[in-house]
Amino acid sequence: MPINRLFVANRGEIALRIVRAAQALNIETVVAVSDADRDSAAARVADRSIVLGPAAAAKSYLDPRLIVHAARESGCDGLHPGYGFLSERAILPRLCAQHGIAFVGPEPDVIDALGDKLRARAMAGAAGVPLVPGSECVASAADARREGDRIGYPVLLKASAGGGGRGMVIAHNGDEAEAGFHKASAEAVAAFGDGTLFMERFVPEARHVEVQLMGDGRGNVLHFGERDCSVQRRYQKLIEEAPCAAMPDHLRRQLHESAVALAASVHYRNAGTAEFLFDVQRQEFYFIEVNARIQVEHPVSEAITGFDLVQEQIRIAGGAGLSVSQQDVEISGHAIECRINAEDAARDFLPSPGRITRWEPPQGQGIRLDSHMSAGAMIPPFYDSMVGKLIVHGRDRADAIARLADAIDNFVVEGVPTTLPLHRAIIAHPDFIENRIHTRWLEQTLLPGYGKKAA
């Protein structure tokens, strides 16, 4: 049954994005807010807002029972989790199901399976998706040395329950593999309560590419092209592009086929992203993980396909099939997104909450801004520092870079420091313009000099 009233269990720009998508489908919206977000843009634009609780996320956006209770009491028959917070916690769709609320996302069992990296890796292998050469569970330091010798150094020791770079250690030889085993295992226990480790070949200069997927839950899965998210700092993406201009067409086709095969093998429902490492030297790609939610960077895929992914998410959650077929999905031009974070690059990217005093975004052909900010808006200190996403769409990559440079130059933000000046520096760098970057390029090449110039 189509959703009549949608509960938005998130905040910031994605809450606003979901409200607007629902409105375009003539669906009522109820936005959940914490005390700190009562006056947020999403709350103002929605039909109704409900205060979940205090500002602390643990007592508002991260409390699944509270959220589903609020959704039910406000008469909602659908719930969109956005990204982050509870979006990949299976308890949320399970509670929704108990209360007859359609969850805008995958089945809880699929979320659980994909959230465990070893299980996800096994599923990918079974679907014929290329895996980075690696190991099963590593039980001891001696195991780590033996597996490292077999895989070939450098290798990466990773926590099975991990994420965000925690519990990850690089080893260049057998001794480091043994020492790394103890360190990574201890870190994993501390961070996740689970010290299970596995090992992978480490690709020193890899690109991060990912495929946007949409499934109907009955085995039909479409892709909306790939994105290249290789500009990262501490495993956090800063700039995302679509398509991946560095990938030849024959590999691109294999990449899309692999991602679709994996999602189809689990009858994936709703939006998801399959992430891969692209080893440019070897011209190989390897599966990393599946993110079972809409992602921050989905707008670049929307820009090159002209397709609204969030609206499609809501339709599918309401029981509809896929609204297009694969041959209707045409890729056109090149899109780049930069994440605007309220952070102070001069103070090692210290998050900088506060009040926006001027907010004058650029306008024009091919420019899109997804943001919940405006002049006078308050950035509370309780949540993440992203204040918006600037997306440009051009004829090709060079055109998109030129448009983005113009757009940033015409973007006036005052009141808090943002990462916009850093984005401007990145896209002006010859390595970025000539597309010679990799996931550690920003930290290794650009940032060391950038800090000095800023000081």
């Binding site: 998050p351 200190p381 949540y383 520092s385």
Partner: protein
């Protein structure tokens, strides 16, 4: 406001002040003076000799009339002259323990070495460990666990060994 009921009355006044949205409040009586401001950079009134306005806290602390200005401010109890004040590096939430349910890093009376972690300040998911600037004994914890603090706000008072 006699000496006896003073803390409760003051606490009530501070609560009312923080809730009210009033930016500045100045009370002056023969034996008492209080200046409250939400503006960290506000100039203190000239006559407010016994009043210590913290660097960036909207709470002014009355002190005994005979004592000179104490900066940074002592909390309820007075601080020794050689106390080392540990301040918040930036705005954020003050956590005394490394994770929920874990033991606090330090308690009043704990002995610490220079460089030991005393607390965490979390802002927008970024946790910064605050370390002891000197070896000594924790004399006072100046902020409640879980409270929002401003950059520069005093967190701990240490007494050197």
């Amino acid at each position: 406001m006699t000496g006896h009921d003073f803390p409760d009355a003051l606490k009530q006044l501070l609560d009312e002040f923080s809730r009210s949205g009033i930016r500045e409040l100045h009370i002056r009586k023969p034996d008492f003076e209080l200046y409250l401001s939400t503006d960290a950079s506000a100039a203190r009134p000239q006559a407010a000799t016994p009043v210590a306005a913290p660097a960036s806290v909207p709470i002014a602390q009355p002190a005994a009339p005979s004592r000179p200005i104490v900066a940074p401010p002592a909390p309820i109890s007075s601080l020794p002259d050689d106390a080392v004040i540990i301040k918040a590096p930036n705005l954020g939430t003050f956590y005394r323990a490394p994770k929920p349910g874990a033991a606090n890093y330090v308690e009043v009376g704990s002995t610490v070495q220079a460089g030991d972690e005393l607390c965490l300040i979390e802002v927008m998911k970024l946790f910064t460990a605050v370390r002891a600037g000197a070896s000594g004994t924790v004399h006072a914890v100046l902020v409640e666990d879980g409270a929002m603090v401003e950059g520069g706000q005093p967190l701990f008072a240490l007494v050197r060994d």
